[in-house]
Amino acid sequence: MESRLKQNDVPSNALNFIDSLSLKNKVKWYLEEGIERKSIEAKFKRSGKKHSVEFDILGNIEDVEIEINWDVLQTPIKDSIKKHLQKDFKKHKIVKTQIQYTGNQMLLFIKLLSGEPTEDLTVKYEIIAKCRSEKSTGLFEYLFTNKGQFILASQILLKPSYHLEY
């Protein structure tokens, strides 16, 4: 469950972290409430790319996700991801690709500020794909290592739309 968060309700260290980036674009803050945990997310655009910075409830940074074009991934990584999706489903279509960085706060800050790759950060790929099996179609979120090896997958539950259809 995601709800908008007012800037005044954002932990000061998370706010300071984002403020230090001196972003030109507006930052939107969200509170993400899962079954087991809560987190805070800052979403913004930088250099035309969608960024999402996730913090824990105390304002400690957890990861940075940047939306990228699927085509920019190296061929062996793409092949490995596609092979895995083909094994799981009859048909699939990749709808969103994100590169996820985790690691030290300072390194993440440098990454966000410069946009340049930082070797000491852990890199993973988050893929959102429309997948079709024999019986149904669904939206899935996959996480792969920087080499394209499978880590985990989960189905994204779409909100009902009956009230928009009938």
């Binding site: 969200y30 009230h163 009938y166």
Partner: protein, 216 residues
Amino acid sequence: MLIINSASAQSRYQIGLLPSINLNYKLENDWSLNSKIESRQLLRTGDFNGIAESKYTYVLTDFSMVTAKKVGLNSRVAGGYLIRVREEKLFHRFIQQYNVVQRLAVFRLAHRFASDQTFSLDEKPEFRLRYRIASEVPLNGESVDPKEFYFKFNNEYLNSWQDSDYDLEIRFVPLLGYNLKNNNKIEMGLDYRVNSFLNNNTRHSFWVNLNWFIEL
């Protein structure tokens, strides 16, 4: 100017209530069922020259059952049957529709392409082709979560043919919704309809909508 005066002289209106209960059942293999009960009650009728009558009148009740199959991640084809009970007369309507829901960054857009055919003993068959665009805008966050309000706006265009007559009806429906849970929503607002304007006999209808959507 003369034309405008003449048009407004013919304009009639009606004001009433249009509550509905909408039950949805999810079945196996991407099939689903929708059943709906909608009732129409009139509170006031009149024309824009000032002649009006305020009186509570029960008008009709519609009972419908539509079955749908998901054909894509965001699309569904559906077909069903509606029976209308109006002053002890029965109207039988067959419905076909195709829905596509677009999930955009901060709101959802739904397109509905539909056709229906209505038959009764007392009237000539009526055939309609309709298109509706509906938007849902969350009033908190990027999506509508439980215990959150949303704004919904429907705009529909209905072409109808009955005997040799053609008519176009346009609907504008702004609604305020509350998502109690993802399977339970309540909406309230205005359902404004305008028709018969092509033959200079414009009728405006203002229905107060109260919708309850339940997913079982």
